[in-house]
């Protein structure tokens, strides 16, 4: 029973990671860059709903909408201002710029909201679900997180595989030049990818802060790193890989938390990542790249 409880909280955390990892992996697949600022978009999303719903007292759904729309716009603006001029530049330069954006978001939030943690009001105000005479307690947040995540993942998969825009995204990530020659608007596709990734990050931020209700300017940093880990774990650039990686990392973290040590759970997650990469150097579902001589 204890195991089941850890597993469920792991699944819930893992699906949040998966949502964030999707943003990392889609951007990596299409723009070939590690968007280190992605984690901080989560934090912005959480602050937005906090401002609208907790501070202004507007209904939750208004806050939710504001957060998703706000992050989508933010993602597109960041892409336009900071990353687009660097298209074709060295990957290290893009990485550093992303770090600069991350610092910017953190420090802007620090200036606006201060460093003291804000207590985040959960989007659900229901008592936890108690099963088997209280032997298994599941929070509604965890259930909501899983449902929302599953829904989003299915929708995203359908979008990527069926829609015209989704196919364009796949084409650009496969071969940017060829896609351009086929008449695909590469710039618009990349912007769209950032928009989707940031919207997912906003949702992830709201869900994450509903389960772990403290909000600081650095809230997004560690989940960001973990989700990045998850994306690499699953094979960066692969969408099913990000989902699988996110869920697995969440479960491993919660099981390590429960059975081994709370303080060591981060180290265990990273150790598992290292072992997986040493056995499968491009992640679980990543493509093997052959170098031509």
């Amino acid at each position: 029973m204890q195991f089941l409880s850890f597993l469920i909280s792991g699944l819930s955390l893992g699906s949040v990671y998966a949502l964030i990892a999707l943003g990392y992996t889609m951007v990596y697949g299409i723009a070939k860059m590690l968007n280190f600022a992605h984690g901080d978009v989560i934090m912005v999303g959480a602050y937005l709903i906090y401002v609208v719903s907790t501070m202004q007292g507007l209904p939750i759904w208004v806050g939710f909408l504001a957060s998703v729309v706000g992050c989508t716009v933010l993602g597109m603006v960041i892409e336009r201002l900071a990353y687009k001029p660097l298209r074709g530049a060295q990957s290290l330069a893009v990485l550093i710029t992303a770090i600069g954006v991350s610092y910017f978001l953190q420090n802007a939030a620090l200036l606006i909201f201060g460093s003291s943690p804000k207590s985040f009001t959960s989007v659900i105000s229901k008592k936890p679900l108690s099963l088997f005479d209280g032997a298994l307690v599941i929070s509604w947040e965890a259930i909501l997180t899983m449902i929302v995540s599953i829904f989003i993942m299915i929708a995203l998969t359908v979008f990527i595989n069926k829609s015209k825009q989704g196919k364009a995204m796949r084409a650009v990530s496969e071969d940017r030049d060829a896609a351009q020659l086929m008449g695909i608007n590469v710039n618009r596709t990349i912007t769209l990818t950032f928009a989707i990734g940031s919207a997912l990050a906003a949702v992830a931020g709201i869900l994450l802060c509903s389960s772990y209700p403290t909000l600081t300017p650095y809230t997004g940093a560690m989940p960001g790193i973990k989700a990045f880990t998850a994306a690499v774990f699953g094979g960066i650039g692969s969408i099913p890989g990000a989902m699988l990686g996110g869920v697995l990392i969440g479960i491993i973290q919660m099981l390590a938390n429960g059975y081994i040590s709370t303080q060591l759970s981060d180290a265990i997650v990273f150790a598992v990542l290292i072992i997986v990469l040493l056995v499968k150097p491009t992640g679980l579902l990543g493509k093997k790249i052959n170098e031509k001589v």
């Binding site: 001029p85 530049a89 990957s91 330069a93 710029t97 770090i99 200036l111 180290a267 990542l273 990469l277």
Partner: protein, 368 residues
Amino acid sequence: MNEKAIKLLGGKRPKDKNSWITVSIVVALFAVIEIIKSTGHISNLLSGLLVPICMYITLAVSLNLVVGILGELSLGHAGFMCVGAYSSALFSLVTKDAIPMTWLRFTIAFLIGGLVAAVFGLLIGIPVLRLKGDYLAIVTLAFGEIIKNLVTILHLGVDKNGIHFSTESIAALHLEEDGTVLIKGALGITGVPKSSTFEIGFIIVMITLLVSLNLVNSAKGRAIMAIRDNRIAAESVGINITTYKLFVFSLSAFFAGLAGVLYSHNLATLTANTNNFGYNMSISILLLVVLGGVGSIRGSVIAAIILTALPELLRGLSDYRMLIYSILLIVIMLFNASPKLVALRERFSLKKMLKRKKDNKKEVRADG
């Protein structure tokens, strides 16, 4: 250039001259600061920055060996610094009374810190260096985090029964009455002698700098850069990639360890957190390397000096300084790396304009 002229050069390449300029800059700066110090005109703020500046120079130069010279992205450099800091701090704490001579104790502490870090570099390097690019970056980041994480939960104590350690708490050490706690988990190590001085920092910087510059301008340095420029070609001329990669990785870890020793002997309490030994620190070091110019040792030195001093000197701007710093960072990167801006800059660069004029003249002559 004819053959005779090359022989006259005696194999001296422009790079050798560059090295001397870099070393001269550092020595001159040291001399200037020593003079200011002796006249007593140094502010508290600046004197507090001297050791950190030496530490950051060492870290930036050593990471540049991996990122710029070997061409591999490492995001776990702070981990090696952490290992060096803790191992040497532990040594100094234990031998504080046994070895009264500070210079001897501190020298041994540096050797221990550097070597332990180098061993970690080697142990981590063996499995991870076959990964490439972003995968190597994430694995080094993961190792750095693991090291930091393990250090935060480590408790270590000693009593007449020997050494005890635990990952739980001080109580779990089960020490006898006479026992002393050396490492207190998240509370870290206290009571390490504050032996770090600017002069010692300068010596460490010089060692790091001279060894790095020598290496870059040597046969092995050429082989390392060959691996960076074209791995397959390097293999085809008989260069054992693994040996060279491991060598650079552990040498870089050694220097990071030295920087860690400087760090740990400059504090009253040594603790590990995200900002000193975690990925934030690793990224800060990487920033120095990139802003100074990937592969440019002199650039790393200058970037380390400016960027360490700058945020402190901008303290007057209080809350806005980090925001300004981040905007500056983005703008500098865009200005330096954006293909369009680089092209624009080249069009208006004076050097190029002069050269173009010359070329035009040549063409005219050829036509005639």
